[in-house]
């Protein structure tokens, strides 16, 4: 009896240690990652002035020009454009799924949206390259067809599942009492959704939009295949340009590690990491605020 108890206590403390070690290991990896990328990336500033890196668009490592402005602008542009298209469409789809769709339809759509999330980005990129690029070229009559517009179009579709599934959950969580109160006061269906349901679900919807943006800014493969990867500032919706991840993936492979060139690619990765981190922190703050209000 006593032996058994002793074993149990031992097992429990072992389990606790395993959990602690796993959690510690995970935290360590994240910190090490940020530290490594940061340390390697910040070394760029030994050879390149921050002014040049952030405010020049001349990227020409052969002649020691390391201006990353066009990549930063490119990344921000495709992110905002894709959320401008994908955000409203995704939220509208979420409203339909949460409030209007009959139950049987919801049962088909929910797994469909999840399935959508599992499509590898190279598939989007491939369809983009073989279908969307020629379509944009023909339809808008532009040379090439590679560029910001094509990349944003594909991204706006890629972020839909993130936006839809998180917004749907937020909308479903709105207490039905509020809706019923609204109907009782004589509000129409549309008025209820617009004035009651959407404002009540706002924190969740904002979270959905921000996570959608985080997905868009980090997307590499699909964007790389259709944006053209031209190290130049975009001058129109249809001009080919580069984003931070696409530039990293195109050049990293053959760039010697530890060179100024390699370091500046790490610096781009650091910028990307900080932007994503900022987005996640915003989401957390929204979550915390919501918890206080509730």
């Amino acid at each position: 009896m006593r032996k058994y108890d002793l074993d149990r206590i031992r097992n429990e403390s072992l389990a606790r240690k395993v959990l602690l070690v796993s959690a510690g290991f995970l935290t360590f990896i994240i910190i090490a990652l940020v530290f490594f990328i940061g340390q390697q990336g910040l070394r760029t500033f030994l050879d390149v002035s921050p002014l040049e890196f952030f405010f020049s668009a001349k990227w020409s490592p052969d002649t020691e020009n390391y201006g990353a402005l066009s990549f930063i602008v490119g990344s921000l542009l495709v992110t905002f454009l894709s959320i401008a298209v994908g955000g409203p469409v995704g939220i509208a789809a979420a409203v339909f799924m949460a409030k209007l769709a009959p139950k049987w339809m919801l049962e088909i759509m929910k797994p469909a949206v999840n399935l959508y999330m599992a499509i590898p980005s190279v598939v989007y990129g491939f369809i983009g390259l073989t279908v969307v690029v020629p379509f944009v070229r023909e339809f808008f009559g532009v040379a090439g067809g590679f560029g910001i517009f094509t990349a944003s179009l594909i991204l706006s579709i890629m972020i839909l599942p993130t936006v839809i599934s998180i917004s749907t959950d937020a909308l479903l969580a709105v207490p039905s009492m509020q809706e019923e109160g609204s109907y009782a006061l004589g509000a129409t269906y549309w008025q209820t959704i617009w004035h009651i349901v959407l404002p009540a679900a706002k924190p969740g919807i904002v979270t959905a939009v921000i996570l959608g943006m985080a997905r868009a800014i980090g997307e590499t493969m699909a964007v790389q295949m259709v944006i053209g990867n031209t190290p130049r500032l975009a001058t129109s919706l249809f001009s080919p340009t580069s984003t931070l991840p696409s530039e990293i993936v195109v050049e990293m492979g053959n760039t010697p590690f530890g060179s100024t060139w390699g370091n500046s690619l790490f610096l781009m990765a650091l910028i990307l990491l900080l932007i994503s981190l900022g987005m996640i922190l915003t989401v957390r703050r929204i979550g915390a605020k919501k918890a206080v209000e509730a």
């Binding site: 074993d7 031992r10 097992n11 090439g144 590679f146 295949m225 031209t230 010697p256």
Partner: protein
Amino acid sequence: MKNIFRKTAVTALSLVVAAGLFAGCGSDKKDAGTASPQKVEGKVAASGSTALLPLLKAGQEEFYKKHDKVTINLSGGGSFTGQKQVASGAVDIGNSDVALADDLKDKGLVETKLVGIPFVFITNKDVAVENLSAGQYVDIMTGKIRNWKEVGGKDQKITIVHRSKSSGSRATIAQVVLKGAQFTDDAIIQDSNGSVRSAIATTPGAIGYVDAAYVDGTVKALSFDGVKYSIAAVIDGKYPVYTFGRMFTKGEPKGAVKAFVDYVTSSEFQEKHAEQKGFVPVTKMKK
């Protein structure tokens, strides 16, 4: 419970130590191989150019048939990685399709030419031009000529599709064709030969360059200064757009490394495999 844990840890640790010892033994044997050329044994580690990998893989298989006591590890990583790793001693052979980087020139690396790598300029099939002069290629690639009608084609915008600034292929074209002039940045960049070809095949008015092995029916191969690409034209010295695949070793190769380098540069191996993999046998080339 704790005991089992400890035992596992001890076993794992001793395995690691044993593996380390084993690996140590392997590299010692490499030098021992020099004594009798008949029986080479040891380990050869090579890394670098991914373009040369298919050829070297074939070389590895054939080489094993003759020398079963040699282990050859081949890995990719890119030409510059190969050069760096052989200079630092991490590998025995660094494979590269570009010349030695300037900052590695004082590291005592010895270059052995492995194979000729020809490049071909390709266009979309709707381009009505068959041939361009060297000067016209330079003007197109630097962005001076932007419309096909300026070189005898139809009135159509020229879209350049090529490789990134860190690519060895791009470095070769910059050196052999552009001779120091700068590529225009107004171009679509793709990250491999295959994606350059498919982007050119689907983009009207597109031009770019790929390794000769990647030319197929989906695109149109252009002549260079009136010379159509063929292996014979490269061997005769008529077709100038090529570079060498090279193997770098730290000092003259010896032992198993020498045996492998000698084998893959032998005319027996070259004539059987090089052309089939899209390269020009180095044994047939003049230089």
